[in-house]
């Protein structure tokens, strides 16, 4: 039966890596600034999942504590980032990265 099949930490780590990749590719492919930011949140979640998996594997609760710091930084980034987006796009109808064309380079 499947009783002999156990979920090792590698499973979680691979899942996290796939989640990270989806976030990274999504960030590069999408043009809507808010969705790009959501992809960054996906990447940060992948990091959190990695930390928790290692905490379990190494039996060190410090890994879980590190997740808190990631969460705090993510929250601070969201506050500031959405503030910037609101400041820019308050008067416009859509928020695409194509609108950031006045700057090259």
């Amino acid at each position: 039966m499947i009783a002999a099949f156990t979920i090792t930490p590698s499973f979680y780590l691979i899942l996290a890596a796939i989640l990270f990749s989806i976030g990274a590719v999504g960030l590069l492919v999408r043009r809507n600034v808010i969705v790009m930011f959501m992809c960054v949140e996906l990447m940060l979640n992948a990091v959190n999942l990695t930390f928790v998996s290692f905490a379990k594997a190494l039996n060190d609760v410090g890994g879980q504590v590190l997740v808190f710091f990631t969460l705090v930084v993510a929250a601070a980034e969201v506050a500031v980032g959405l503030g910037i987006i609101v400041a820019i796009f308050r008067r416009r109808r859509d928020a695409t990265a194509d609108d950031l064309r006045t700057l090259e380079g």
């Binding site: 976030g23 969705v35 997740v67 710091f69």
Partner: protein, 186 residues
């Protein structure tokens, strides 16, 4: 049981992530993000991280995504947008990045991780007389990690100040001629 749960919520995580990236409507993306976040919270529970799972749902899914939705609705960006991307090298870079990360995934798969009741330093997740998960996390957070904790307090204050400064409507009209200090370089 763990196996079944892992595969169900693992699939939901990946499905939600793909939904975030592929959905045309940003509101749909936000909802898929909630799905991903909650699935990740369940995966946390499967790994004996109860406090983190609860905080994930309360803070991430409950506050951050709500903030996203507020901004989406405020700005009225809930329309769809075309899928074409103007930057020439975007697709190749994305694919290259995907390939690198896939290679890394395979490396992860091949690596033999040490598991078991190996208490590194201090408090483990199981074992020892440290109490429940919350008590263990608290013990480590307020002793070993006290310093970064204090710094994050400052960081959060700044985030609030920054967000208020940015999002506030100024009294003046947006007219660059009215500025007394000239732009770039002065």
């Amino acid at each position: 049981m763990t196996v079944v749960l892992f595969f169900i919520f693992g699939a939901l995580t990946i499905g939600g992530a793909l939904g975030v990236v592929l959905a045309r409507n940003p509101v749909h993306s936000a909802l898929f993000l909630v799905l991903t976040l909650v699935s990740v919270a369940v995966l946390f529970l499967l790994q004996d991280a109860q406090l983190v799972a609860a905080v994930q749902i309360i803070v991430y899914a409950g506050a951050i995504v709500v903030l996203f939705l507020f901004v989406i609705m405020l700005l009225g960006v809930d329309q769809t947008e075309p899928f074409a991307e103007p930057l020439r090298f975007q697709r190749p870079v994305a694919l290259a990045l995907g390939a690198i990360l896939l290679a890394e995934v395979l490396l992860l798969a091949g690596h033999r991780w040490a598991t078991g009741a190996k208490t590194a330093r201090g408090v483990g997740i199981t074992g020892g007389a440290f109490g429940s998960n919350i008590q263990r996390v608290a013990r480590v957070l307020f002793t070993t990690f006290l310093w970064p904790f204090e710094i994050t307090a400052v960081l959060l204050v700044i985030a609030v100040i920054g967000a208020v400064v940015l999002a506030r409507r100024s009294a003046q009209t947006p007219d660059s001629e009215s500025e007394s200090a000239p732009r770039s370089g002065s």
